[in-house]
């Protein structure tokens, strides 16, 4: 188990570094001059050259690359071109805001998806209807679900704020969006695992022992859903923390995704790099955490498949 873990951590670090290198190189090929973005009205070439020198943009790419990664290994994400403060201090609060949304979104999708899966398994009559709901939700892009919710609950029913921002009232619709779009995955997992459990020998034994249905459902059937569901939650938390860009754009939720989009428009390379790296770390870290938790819950997963 320890070996499996070390392998996964090593692969994770390699993946994050790969993403970082790729992002760095890509950003340098993106046309556009950050100096021009900072001083759009500057007339003289000297002013622009001065800005470039201040940002060390006049150095060769290799030097900048070494500089950046040396900083990265010290835990320094650099300084924003535009905002004149450290990238870490810009990302920190945005990450917390996105974290709140990610958490609310995961709770929503577990509740909605789990509910759909359980209903579909226990009541075969509505199974076709649940499948239809699943496929429909699966077919919809996040931003479409978000905009339709905004239209109905914000603009028509006036039940939700439409002005953007982060707060307890503002979080409901974006979280519901994530919940609805993510639900089919959970519904499918729950239904598959429950079907597996229900046809298993241990459930037959439990029934033969005369245990009450409710007890069997909770202690034997749903418990087995836990392991794959944990993997899903880990994947989703990681993916959402890397910025739910579209949902944040639709609802004006000031998270890391919105920060990334703004920085891309400003050619604020250090901030873009920071968000991409933080995002990749989140993806890798939460997948890893989920793996560890799963090994704990389900001993069968403790060795890597060949």
């Amino acid at each position: 188990m320890a070996r499996t873990l070390i392998r996964r951590v090593a692969f994770g670090v390699i993946a994050v570094l790969g993403v970082a290198v790729l992002a760095f190189l890509l950003e340098f090929v993106v046309p556009g001059d950050p100096a021009r973005a900072i001083a759009p009205r500057a007339q003289s070439a000297a002013v622009l050259a001065n800005i470039r020198a201040q940002l060390h943009l006049n150095r060769p790419l290799v030097v900048q690359f070494v500089d950046y990664f040396a900083g990265l290994f010290r835990g320094d994400l650099g300084t924003s071109y535009v905002q004149r403060q450290s990238v870490a201090s810009l990302i920190g609060p945005r990450l917390a805001t996105t974290g709140a949304l990610a958490l609310a979104g995961v709770v929503a999708e577990v509740l909605i998806g789990g509910g759909l899966g359980i209903v579909a398994t226990l009541y075969p009559r509505v199974r076709a209807a649940v499948t239809a709901v699943n496929l429909t939700l699966l077919a919809l892009p996040q931003f479409v679900v978000g905009l339709v919710l905004l239209l109905v609950f914000g603009f028509r029913l006036h039940l939700a704020p439409v002005t953007g921002g982060a707060g307890p009232a503002e979080i409901v619709l974006p979280a519901l969006t994530l919940g609805l779009v993510g639900a089919p995955w959970y519904a499918q997992i729950v239904a598959d695992q429950m079907a597996d459990s229900l046809s298993s020998a241990y459930v037959r034994t439990a029934v033969a022992k005369g245990l009450p249905d409710r007890y069997i459902l909770w202690r034997h059937v749903l418990r087995n859903v836990l392991s794959p569901a944990i993997t899903m939650v880990g994947m989703d938390l990681g993916a959402y923390l890397s910025g739910v860009v579209t949902v944040e754009v639709v609802f004006g939720w000031p998270g890391i995704g919105l920060l990334a989009v703004e920085s891309l428009q400003n050619l604020d390379r250090p901030v873009v790099m920071g968000t991409v790296i933080v995002g990749a770390v989140a993806v890798v870290l939460f997948n890893l955490l989920a793996d560890v938790l799963r090994m704990y819950v389900d001993p069968r997963t403790r060795e890597d498949p060949a």
């Binding site: 950003e27 993916a239 990749a280």
Partner: protein, 302 residues
């Protein structure tokens, strides 16, 4: 868990034979529905010019006297947008864009992924290590952000969308194919072939590649559906296909600006996206129902 299911991360639990009593449909209804809907969309895509000019701004009769977009009427079946253009014509061309993206980028991303997966599974050793680590990077990329960065490198248009989708969508099929190759290797016929003196190329061509075909055919509708969704998302964010060219995504972006007074501009393209992706998903479900061995190719794997 059988060996077959563990080979396909991320942990898609194999849908076992649900109930032995349920008969397997030979030609499932989902397949019929998917094929029929896709047929309709293909026809619309091909015949898009027949629905009118998507760029013609009718400022005299296309807008209300106060300059607002028109609602649904006989003259304009789906109303007009904020510039007085026929929403129906724009919708037809938006569908055309979506269908082209679905078909082309589906093919390119799967081709790249299959090549990587086959090479990694066949050569093993250092090639395998490098290719699969690169695949890990591909899977760890924050999709939307990476897409926005790549978008900055190219000019707007179909090519940009297809390049972005290929660059981001190849990793999952690569993992899928790689897992399948490893699974096949355990079955021994590759080794017997090699023992009989088959060359490497012959092994790939005769023994491995043909086995990938059903797997990839089953996966491609799901991939195509994701591609349609992603194109719309990119164009919505302004990183895909830019106006005035119609795409369902940029139509929704336009519709968002008119959300409080002309909700049909948002809802019409939204319903179109829903129906296109739904028809691909139905096709995928139908293919899986016909071939339960492939049920592990799940839309669970994003």
């Amino acid at each position: 868990m059988t060996a077959a299911t563990t080979a396909v991360p991320p942990a898609a639990p194999a849908a076992r034979e649900a109930a032995p009593t349920r008969r397997r449909a030979r030609w499932p209804a989902t397949l019929t529905a998917g094929v029929a809907l896709l047929g309709v969309f293909t026809c619309v895509a091909i015949a898009a010019p027949a629905f009118g000019n998507p760029l013609h701004q009718n400022l005299l009769t296309g807008l209300s006297p106060s300059g607002l977009p028109l609602g649904l009427s006989w003259a304009h079946p789906l109303g007009t947008d904020t510039l007085g253009r026929s929403e129906l014509a724009r919708l037809a061309f938006g569908i055309r864009t979506s269908m082209i993206v679905a078909v082309v980028s589906n093919f390119t991303s799967i081709a790249v992924g299959a090549a990587v997966g086959l090479a990694a599974g066949f050569f093993r050793g250092p090639v395998e290590a490098v290719l699969m680590r690169v695949t890990d990077v591909g899977l760890a990329l924050p999709y939307t952000l990476a897409a926005l960065v790549i978008a900055g490198l190219m000019t707007a248009g179909l090519t940009r969308v297809i390049v972005i989708i290929t660059a981001l969508f190849w990793a999952y099929p690569a993992r899928l194919v790689y897992g399948e190759v490893l699974r096949l290797r355990r079955r021994g016929f590759v080794e017997s072939g090699e023992a009989m003196g088959a060359s490497g190329l012959a092994t790939v061509r005769r023994h491995l590649a043909p086995h990938m075909f059903p797997l990839l055919v089953t996966y491609s509708p799901l991939n195509a559906a994701s591609a349609v969704v992603f194109e719309a998302t990119l164009s919505y964010l302004g990183a895909g296909i830019s106006p005035p060219t119609a795409s369902l995504g940029n139509m929704i972006s336009d519709g968002q600006d008119a959300i409080s007074y002309a909700p049909h501009l948002l809802l019409v393209p939204a319903v179109a996206i829903l129906l296109i992706t739904l028809s691909f998903l139905l096709l995928g479900e139908g293919l899986k129902a016909r071939n339960p061995d492939l049920a592990r190719v799940s839309w669970l794997g994003r």
